[in-house]
Symmetry: C2
Subunit: 242 residues, 2 copies
C-alpha cells in the first residue's frame, strides 16, 4: 500500500489516534462483518509523518474473496491518503514482518532559501550550502555491516544495533532542486535513516569530517550524531521477501 | 508568491476563514505596526483548493524598507503553505490587478485506477480511458478570441464573456502518469479553466465530438459543458505585466 503519512500518527494502531493500521483494520473488519476482530500485521512501523510508497501488510480473512475483490473493496472504503496498490493471496507461512529480509527507504531533501509550500510535508528542507561531492564520498562508509548505536533514537528498546546496509546512494534532482538518498538494508533501527541523513547533510555542509561515520561507528554514542532529519522527507520505498 | 491552496478558503479575505489575503495582511500589518490597516491587492482571486506558483500582489507600505527586508520579514511571519518568492518596489502606477495583461494557468490531471495518495490535493484525478490524440486535436479550438459563455460558472457576475486565449497546450508526463494542460490568455472567467479541462477530458474519453468547443461557443449555454474539474489540479502559473 501507499500512504501519505502527513495526517497519520504513524502506522501502528493507537487509541484515539488516526493511524494507518487503524484505518486498515476498520475497513477490513467492515468487510468481514464478523464479531471476531481481524488484526493487520505490517512489515514494520513508520512514524508520524513518514510516507510509504510500498508498505506491505498481511491479515487472515475469514471469507472466500479474490485478491481483486479485496483490492476493490478496501480501496472503496479507505480514505484517500491510503491506497492499496496490490493485493495477493499468500500461503499461511507468509508473515509481512517475520519473513522480510530487507527494506529500502528513500529520503527527499529539498533545498532553497525557504521551504517550498508544496514540499513542506513531502521533503526535509535544508537551507544551508551543501557540497554534494563530500556526501558522495561519505556514502560508501554507510554501506556494510556496522554497529549503528550512534544512529538509534534514545527511545529504542532494541539491544542489538548491528545492521547491514547493502546499498546507500545519493543523487541530485536538479530540476526539482532536491537531493535524494536511498538506503537498502536488512533492517533499520528506530530513526536510523533520519539520523544518518542529518549526519550526511552535516558532512555536506562541512560541519563534519567526510569520514565521520567511521568514527561514529566506533564511539557508539547517540549524542555524537546530534540531529534527526524531519519525518516528512522519509519514504518506505520497498519491502523485500523471497 | 507561491501557495498550496489545500488549506486555504481561496485567495480573497473572508470573515472567519483562512485565506491567502488574510494571512498576508496579518503579516504585513504586524510589520507596519501602525493603526492604519494595510490592504493587499492580488492580481485576482483563486478559489479554495486552487494553487499558485507565482501569484502577484501589491500593497502600500508606510515605512522605508528594502525589497530584501520585506521578503525576509514576510517569510519569517507567513505560514509554511504560503511563500513569498520575490519582492520588488514598484512605481505608484503599478496595480497588480488593473495593469496585468495576461495570466497563465496549469492544470495537472492524474491518471490510474485509484487516486494516488500523494496527488489527491495536487491534481485532478481522471480514472477513465483517455485518447490524448483527440485532446491534442481539440486544443487549437480553445485558442483565439471566443465567447466563453458556455464555460463560465453560473455564479459569475461578469457580463462580458469574450476572452482571448493566446496559447492552449497539453502534454503527457508519462513518468508521473499525468496529463498537463496550460492556458495562457488575457483573462479568465470564473471556473473557466476547470470547465474547459473537464470538457477536454470528455473529448479525450470519446464522450464528446473532438470539435465540440466550436459548438459550445455557438450555443452559449453553461448547461452544455456539464462538468467542472476539481480545484486541486489548478495552478496559477504566471501573471503578466509590461
Amino acid at each position: 500500500m501507499a500512504y501519505d503519512g502527513t495526517n497519520f500518527a504513524g502506522f501502528q494502531i493507537q487509541p484515539n489516534q488516526r493511524t494507518v493500521q487503524g484505518v486498515l483494520e476498520k475497513a477490513i473488519n467492515k468487510m468481514s462483518k464478523l464479531d471476531e476482530y481481524i488484526t493487520v500485521h505490517g512489515s514494520g512501523r513508520t512514524d508520524a509523518g513518514v510516507h510509504a510508497l510500498a508498505q506491505v501488510a498481511h491479515f487472515d480473512f475469514p471469507h472466500e474473496i479474490s485478491a481483486e475483490g479485496m483490492l476493490r473493496g478496501l480501496n472503496s472504503m479507505l480514505p484517500l491518503d491510503c491506497e492499496i496498490t496490490a493485493c495477493e493471496i499468500v500461503p499461511d507461512s507468509f508473515h509481512s514482518r517475520f519473513t522480510t529480509h530487507g527494506k529500502r527507504y528513500m529520503y527527499r531533501v529539498s533545498r532553497g532559501r525557504y521551504t517550498n509550500p508544496f514540499k513542506r510535508f513531502y521533503t526535509g528542507h535544508y537551507k544551508y550550502p551543501l557540497d554534494i561531492d563530500r556526501i558522495k564520498e561519505a556514502m560508501p562508509d554507510v554501506e556494510g555491516t556496522h554497529d549503528f548505536s550512534s544512529f538509534v533514537a534514545s527511545g529504542s528498546q532494541v539491544k542489538d544495533h548491528v545492521r547491514t546496509i547493502y546499498e546507500a546512494t545519493v543523487r541530485e534532482d536538479k530540476a526539482n532542486d532536491e537531493i535524494i538518498f536511498e538506503f537498502y538494508g536488512n533492517g533499520f533501527l528506530y530513526n536510523q535513516v533520519r539520523i544518518m541523513v542529518a549526519t550526511l547533510l552535516e558532512i555536506g555542509n562541512g560541519r563534519r569530517d567526510v569520514h565521520d561515520f567511521l568514527r561514529l561507528y566506533e564511539v557508539k554514542d547517540r549524542s555524537q550524531a546530534r540531529e534527526t532529519a524531519p519525518a516528512s522527507g522519509l519514504y518506505l520505498k520497498e519491502v523485500y521477501y523471497d
